[in-house]
């Protein structure tokens, strides 16, 4: 058993903790909060409301594994929503075109930020801080007033529900209601799987870990450190573009205040999911469960009727501390065990 524990990589160990904690928390919610949490749809609603955050967090984990950070993702989300909304409603565009706009915005941010970070060696925090302000500012320039999109094609896509067979529940009138997820959730799941595969089983994926773990060794291993860093930012921003579109698909409106603080939630989710700010450690599956843990906490707080919004903030802060403590305790124990 100890051997097994010793052989477990840091990444897998932290992942296990995250998943265990998530399940404990959800079971706790069912026990303390009653039947609402027993219904599958409550869980799917968490996915529906957080599909965009899952995608953003995947990108965030990637740059964090590579040793960087990107706080522009929330701004990019707002910019994508606003540009797509304006394009669809005021310019008479179509859904395919708006999708390209989203990807284009993401790619543009990725190329510029990646270049500045990797090739000009500027701190990623500063670069993406500028990116965040730029994106928020541009959103307001594109259109000041928030508005809802009326484009029929888009609304139809927004309303599309993917029915999940066998997981419905009976409502209080005794009618059976099918469980469903939105299109965005499907996109999010695909991205989680893709990113998981890339990070775990490809050469590129391993080079992200290598660069984040130790730049010097990575260089000696013959990894192109600059290119790897550049790519991590490009992928992160591209995911922010996709995440932005999924967010847009969920809310169906453009507004300068959209996704306020999403970057911080993405960072929190990544950390809860076992990604370390120091780089080199992290797992996309963990990130996925990190988002779920974060939003389950929010759900528990609001279902308990704690109307003050700050309760959510305080609980998340407590949870972040908890995870950081667990992480460091477990890591130091493991290191001690290894030395024996």
């Amino acid at each position: 058993m100890t051997k097994k524990l010793k052989n477990m990589t840091d990444t897998n160990l932290l992942l296990t903790i995250t998943i265990v904690v998530f399940f404990l928390m959800y079971i706790g919610a069912i026990v303390f909060q009653g039947k609402g949490f027993l219904k599958p749809q409550t869980f799917f609603n968490i996915l529906n409301a957080n599909a965009a955050l899952i995608i953003l967090s995947c990108g965030m984990s990637l740059v964090m594994i590579t040793g960087g950070i990107d706080i522009s993702v929330g701004g990019v989300t707002a910019l994508v929503s606003m540009c797509c909304a304006v394009y669809l409603d005021y310019k008479g565009g179509n859904v395919v075109g708006s999708l390209f706009i989203a990807l284009g915005i993401g790619l543009a941010f990725g190329l510029v930020q990646g270049f500045l970070v990797a090739y000009l060696d500027i701190q990623p925090f500063i670069v993406s801080l500028a990116g965040m302000f730029f994106a928020r500012g541009m959103t307001t320039i594109v259109n000041t007033n928030p508005f809802n999109v009326a484009n029929e094609e888009f609304v139809a896509l927004k309303e599309t529900r993917v029915i999940i067979p066998g997981l419905g529940s009976v409502n209080k009138l005794g009618k059976y209601v099918n469980a469903y997820v939105e299109i965005g959730v499907v996109v999010a799941i695909i991205i989680v799987i893709l990113m998981f595969i890339v990070l775990r089983w490809t050469k590129l994926g391993r080079s992200f870990y290598a660069v984040g773990g130790n730049k010097q060794s990575a260089l000696m291993l013959g990894i192109n450190v600059k290119r790897t860093k550049f790519l991590s930012h490009v992928i992160c921003s591209l995911l922010a573009g996709i995440g932005g579109y999924v967010y847009f698909l969920h809310v169906g409106s453009g507004a300068a205040s959209h996704a306020a603080g999403a970057e911080m939630n993405a960072i929190a989710s990544s950390i809860i999911g076992g990604t370390m700010l120091t780089g080199g450690v992290g797992n996309i599956a963990g990130t996925f469960f990190g988002v779920l843990s974060l939003s389950t906490i929010q759900n528990i707080v609001s279902s308990a009727g704690l109307d003050q919004a700050w309760w959510t903030g305080i609980t998340i802060a407590a949870m972040l501390c908890l995870f950081l403590v667990i992480q460091s305790v477990v890591m130091s124990r493991k290191n001690a065990a290894m030395k024996k």
Binding site: M25, F32, G34, G36, T42, T144, F147, L306, A309
Partner: protein, 354 residues
């Protein structure tokens, strides 16, 4: 060996339990033990559970509104209220309504942040046969999607205020063309903003006032101050500012005083007249009494009793009116104007003492 693994899991479990437990105790504490622990979460058959999705806590009006709901339902027998603070975001409100549906609450009360974008989620509530009562702002959705609406007639509020202004100017012998008015608007797309803005533009057209410009103050004091400072720089001859709530007016007065000007009715002597809406806080009424705010169109925030009455009626099988307006007055420190008339109907002005 196993002990190590076990202790690891125990650590995790031990650290999580107090967290959940902590949330639990706090929740009973903050409601002064009104709910008897588990009984409350079990959603008892004979307890009517009401989910209230509130916009946030952006203004004094909103705070009084939330308090009114909480107080009413805390004092009522057999009811419990779950309040959700959406922090000004529609997406949070939609999430909250979906959660209420999964929790199987008996009624949903919604104070919508904007007018449109509600069809889907209100449809889901209808499918679950949960009656939805809209309060304060309106929703732009099919009438069948909600049970009824309780709130203010924002256009009427605005007409009352502009009619008071017109009466005052006529009394002072000030011609309409001498009035240079700017507008600090509320949150775009909110019914209160739409009603109050359109009331102003009608009055500007009818009375021949000079309209200088409008900016969105988001119903906050900070923005009100910022915008008024801009206005004072941009429009040298501004003499009236029309704020769409009291908090914006407080900010505007700060900016006026910071610029070395005076807020007051005497616009002939270079004072700047401030008019506003809501009139819920003592501070606002004091300012109106002092004459710093010339006139306030009341916006009644005490929705709690009205909502409770509707729910009691629904429980008894009585269908309420689709639209219920609350009674509202108009406040001013100017004692020479006691009545105003809007569309042939005359209204009393509540005159405040200095």
């Amino acid at each position: 060996m196993k002990i190590r693994i076990l202790s690891m899991f125990l650590t995790v479990a031990l650290l999580t339990v107090p967290l959940v437990a902590c949330g639990k105790t706090a929740e009973t504490d903050s409601f002064d033990g009104i709910y008897e622990d588990e009984e409350y979460v079990e959603t008892d058959e004979d307890v009517v559970v009401v989910g209230f999705s509130q916009i946030g806590a952006e203004s004094d009006w909103r705070k009084v509104n939330t308090e009114s709901m909480k107080e009413t339902f805390a004092n009522a027998e057999g009811y419990e209220l779950i309040v959700d603070d959406a922090q000004q975001k529609q997406s949070n409100q939609i999430t909250a309504i979906r959660r209420f549906i999964q929790q199987e609450v008996d009624y949903i009360v919604l104070a919508p942040v904007t007018e449109d974008g509600w069809d889907t989620v209100l449809g889901e509530a209808r499918d679950a046969h949960i009656p939805v009562i809209i309060v304060d702002r309106m929703v732009d959705a099919n009438n069948s999607l909600f049970t009824c609406w309780v709130g203010s007639d924002f256009l009427l509020e605005s007409k009352k205020v502009t009619s008071w202004m017109n009466k005052y100017f006529t009394m002072q012998g000030i011609d309409g063309s001498e009035i240079n008015i700017a507008n600090i608007q509320g949150t775009y797309g909110a019914s209160s903003q739409i009603g109050r803005t359109s009331g102003l533009s009608q009055a500007v057209r009818d009375n021949g006032w000079n309209f200088l410009g409008a900016e969105c103050g988001e119903y906050t004091q900070a923005r009100g101050r910022e915008i008024m400072a801009q206005f004072l720089n941009k429009y040298r001859d501004i003499n009236v500012v029309y704020c769409e709530n009291d908090n914006e007016a407080f900010g505007a007065i700060e900016a006026i005083e910071a610029a070395g000007r005076k807020a007051g009715n005497n616009i002939k002597d270079g004072e700047i007249m401030v008019v506003s809406f809501d009139g819920v806080s003592d501070e606002a009424l004091d300012k109106a009494g002092e004459g710093k705010i010339a006139c306030i169109g009341e916006c009644n925030p005490l929705h709690g009793p009205r909502v409770l009455e509707i729910i009691e009626n629904l429980e008894a099988g009585i269908t309420p009116n689709k639209f219920e307006y609350v009674d509202e007055s108009i406040y001013s420190g100017e004692d020479r104007i006691t009545t105003i008339s809007v569309d042939g109907q005359s209204y009393y002005v509540t005159v405040l003492n200095k």
